[in-house]
């Protein structure tokens, strides 16, 4: 653990240094160019590799390398069906809007999505609505990604002695402070380091720095995944072997346990989270730390995970536990909570709907699968961060070749992740206690078993590269909307370049700092907010943008109705879901993802309002580029 964390710390230090170097270099390239177009759109000059990799990296967030592996590990081969919509994602998300949006943005001189609406529809109102909705949803997204960055880094560096000492120092200094005092020193330190790096290079280098770092991050992700794939397949004995073993597996059981010793000890016995306890009857992993106080014979009741599959039980090594505690301990299982779907059912990891701890219908009902097949490609098409990139490629040949490049890139990444974590299911039992640790722990396990523990640093760089490449794009999108669409459009259209430059630097820094301060104590349901924000953005922008580009009779009133209609439906279903389940999860009408209904509502309103209203006649004066 400490070895892996040291490798991760060294990797992070080198990685951050390279990112900063790229930002400095990109800043030099940007000198002497027109500021707004260069800072927010890289002067629309992206070539194939830059465009393809920035597009691919922006789409791959922390969820790709932390959440998706955790889902594969927990639910098995069902995730192949769940992710299948990605097969058409590059073609649709780049091809459907790419050429036309690039052309329209060049003709109108627009550098932001709200500006495209305002300029093309000749309507300030359309631009204002787009700006408000974009900033609203995007800020939630930004919060979630900053939190993910801090969490991933603290997960990776957790066992490193230097880091622990620094975290302790931070904890001591912040313990009495309001707001900051409630957060752990580890998380605060990682959040600060992550934010400093990202805000630093975004402020300094703007869009071009983001693109250059995205290219590096895209390469890091690919290399990390390919190394892990080779190690996983070798160590498990081929994917066929892994699948055969998964066929015999049954899901584990969540339970409450008490750790006991036969005789009182003279000192406290500390059992860290993740400790294995194996008896003749049970093999249990502790999901929480616990302690047997000196003179006592049992611990307090804690959560645990009881293995049920023979192959899992055989795979558990006692060595790590014995190293920590040198006395004979046993475990008393108090209460067992079986999986709601798949308990005791061999082969459940090979078939749909896949095992589920909470849902009696399993992980992936057919209606959910249909929803995801719609959501992945069309949801990505509707993301403003992707649309902005479509405004920045230099010519149509770049777009065409980039579609192919991203397609091949995603094929490698997603198939490799599927195979790796199906192997991980076999190699490393008991990760259900903390599924988000599956990626870093499997990287550590594979590289240690191969005798190259230092390689873990490179492999685990992939998740924070993914988060960084998303958070930088969102940060610049929020600041570009505030500077370009609010300040310049509504307060000072003739603002000189020098003022716009200072405003851009200041706004990017303030937005970044504000987001960091807010996620010091992240609001509840933050993970659900990611789903809420991404679905909301696509629901808001996809249909109006498609109609703007392809339907000459589309009106500004129709655009506003489409944006508000999709957003309203999204909010209504979210509130309905909360009222029904008392959880922050949207209501799934007819079992379908709310995104589908959002799009239907947006399309109906955009179309019907457009045919009832007249196109805007008065030309709107555009902004100075």
């Amino acid at each position: 653990m400490a070895e892996q964390s040291t490798a991760a710390l060294v990797t992070f230090a080198i990685y951050t240094a390279v990112v900063m170097l790229l930002a400095v270099l990109s800043g030099r390239v940007s000198r002497g160019k027109e500021f707004v177009g260069e800072y927010f759109l890289g002067s629309r000059s992206l070539g194939v590799w830059a465009f393809a990799l920035t597009f691919a990296a922006t789409n791959a967030s922390g969820g790709t390398f932390m959440g998706f592996p955790a889902l594969i590990y927990t639910h098995g081969w069902s995730l192949a069906f769940w992710i299948a919509g990605f097969m058409t994602l590059p073609l649709l998300s780049m091809g459907l809007l790419g050429k036309r949006l690039n052309r329209v943005s060049r003709e109108t001189g627009a550098v932001t999505i709200p500006e495209v609406f305002a300029a093309k529809m000749k309507s300030d109102a359309a631009g204002v609505v787009a700006t408000c909705l974009l900033v609203f949803f995007m800020f939630f997204y930004l919060l979630a990604q900053f939190k993910a960055g801090g969490k991933i880094l603290s997960t990776l560096l957790g066992g490193e002695p230097t880091f622990q000492a620094a975290a302790l120092w931070v904890s001591e200094r912040t313990s009495g402070l309001p707001w900051f005092g409630d957060a752990s020193g580890e998380y605060l330190l990682c959040l600060a380091a992550f934010a400093l790096a990202v805000v630093g290079y975004v402020v300094y280098g703007g869009f071009r720095a983001i693109v250059w770092t995205d290219v590096m991050q895209g390469v890091v992700m690919l290399v990390g995944v390919v190394i892990m794939l080779a190690l996983a397949l070798y160590q498990v004995g081929g994917i066929g072997n892994a699948t055969r073993k998964m066929a015999a597996m049954t899901p584990p059981e969540h339970c409450d346990v008490r750790v006991v010793v036969s005789e009182p000890q003279e000192v406290d016995i500390v059992l860290p989270k993740g400790s294995w306890i194996k008896t003749s009857a049970d093999t249990v992993r502790l999901a929480q730390s616990t302690r047997i106080v000196a003179g006592d014979t049992e611990s307090a009741q804690v959560a645990g995970l009881r293995l049920t599959a023979r192959s899992d039980i055989d795979a558990v090594s006692m060595s790590s536990f014995d190293a920590e505690v040198s006395v004979e301990v046993s475990v008393e299982v108090l209460e067992i909570r079986e999986y709601a779907y798949g308990a005791g059912k061999a082969g459940v990891y090979l078939s749909n709907p896949g095992p589920s701890a909470n849902s009696g219908l399993g992980f992936l009902a057919i209606s959910s699968a249909l929803s995801f097949f719609i959501f992945w490609p069309f949801g990505a098409t509707g993301q403003p961060a992707n649309m902005v990139r479509l405004m920045a490629f230099k010519d149509n040949r770049t777009l065409r070749v980039s579609i192919v490049t991203v397609t091949v890139y995603y094929n490698i990444i997603f198939f490799a992740l599927l195979l790796i974590f199906c192997c991980g299911r076999v190699l490393m039992p008991g990760m259900e206690i903390d599924p988000d640790r599956t990626m870093p722990d499997l990287a550590s396990h594979l590289t240690a078993a191969a005798g190259v523990p230092w390689l873990a640093g490179l492999v685990v760089a992939a998740p924070f590269a993914a988060v960084m490449s998303s958070v930088d794009s969102f940060l610049l999108m929020v600041s570009s909307s505030l500077v370009r669409d609010v300040y310049q459009r509504h307060f000072r259209p003739d603002a000189p370049e020098r003022v716009l430059r200072r405003m851009s630097y200041a706004v990017t820094t303030i937005v970044g700092l504000l987001a960091v301060v807010m996620v010091v104590n992240p609001p509840m349901y933050l993970q659900d907010l990611i789903v809420f924000a991404s679905g909301g953005l696509a629901a808001c922008f996809l249909v109006p943008m498609l109609l703007l580009l392809y339907w000459p009779q589309f009106t500004s009133a129709g655009a506003i109705a489409g944006m508000l209609g999709g957003t309203a439906m999204h909010l209504v279903l979210t509130v309905a879901g909360y009222l029904t389940t008392q959880q922050f999860s949207p209501y799934e009408l007819l079992g379908m993802n709310p995104f589908v209904w959002d799009l239907v509502m947006s399309a109906i309103l955009a179309w019907s309002v457009s045919i009832m209203t007249q196109p805007t006649a008065q030309p709107k004066q555009g902004l100075r580029p």
Binding site: T88, K99, N102, I239, G240, T407, Y550, Q553, P615
Partner: protein
């Protein structure tokens, strides 16, 4: 307006043709997505929800439904994307375009 001028006004301009080209390409992409949806959802629904999953057929080291319902269509989709993007999408470059109704 004489016949010659009237015919010239009715004739499709280059920009109209370009917009039609954009639309045609978009329609092809959506139609392709629809075909893939039918393939993937049809096969996975038919073969992926086994009543006795322990007896699932394994092909190429993966469950058969993954090979037929995800891996094969993903490969086909990749080949189609390469063919369509490299050989069928046009390279019409930005030029002055006739304003749409909401611009006029």
């Amino acid at each position: 307006m004489n016949d010659k001028e009237e015919n010239a006004a009715k004739a499709p301009t280059a920009s109209r043709l370009t917009r039609r080209g954009f639309r045609f390409e978009a329609l092809v992409m959506v139609a392709f997505w629809l075909i893939m949806a039918v393939w993937v959802l049809g096969v996975c629904h038919q073969f992926g929800y086994a009543s006795d999953p322990a007896e699932s057929l394994v092909v190429l080291g993966m469950p058969a439904w993954v090979v037929l319902g995800v891996f094969a269509p993903w490969c086909f989709s990749t080949l189609f994307t390469i063919w369509f993007a490299l050989f069928k999408m046009s390279d019409d470059e930005p030029d002055a375009e006739e304003p749409a109704a909401h611009l006029s």
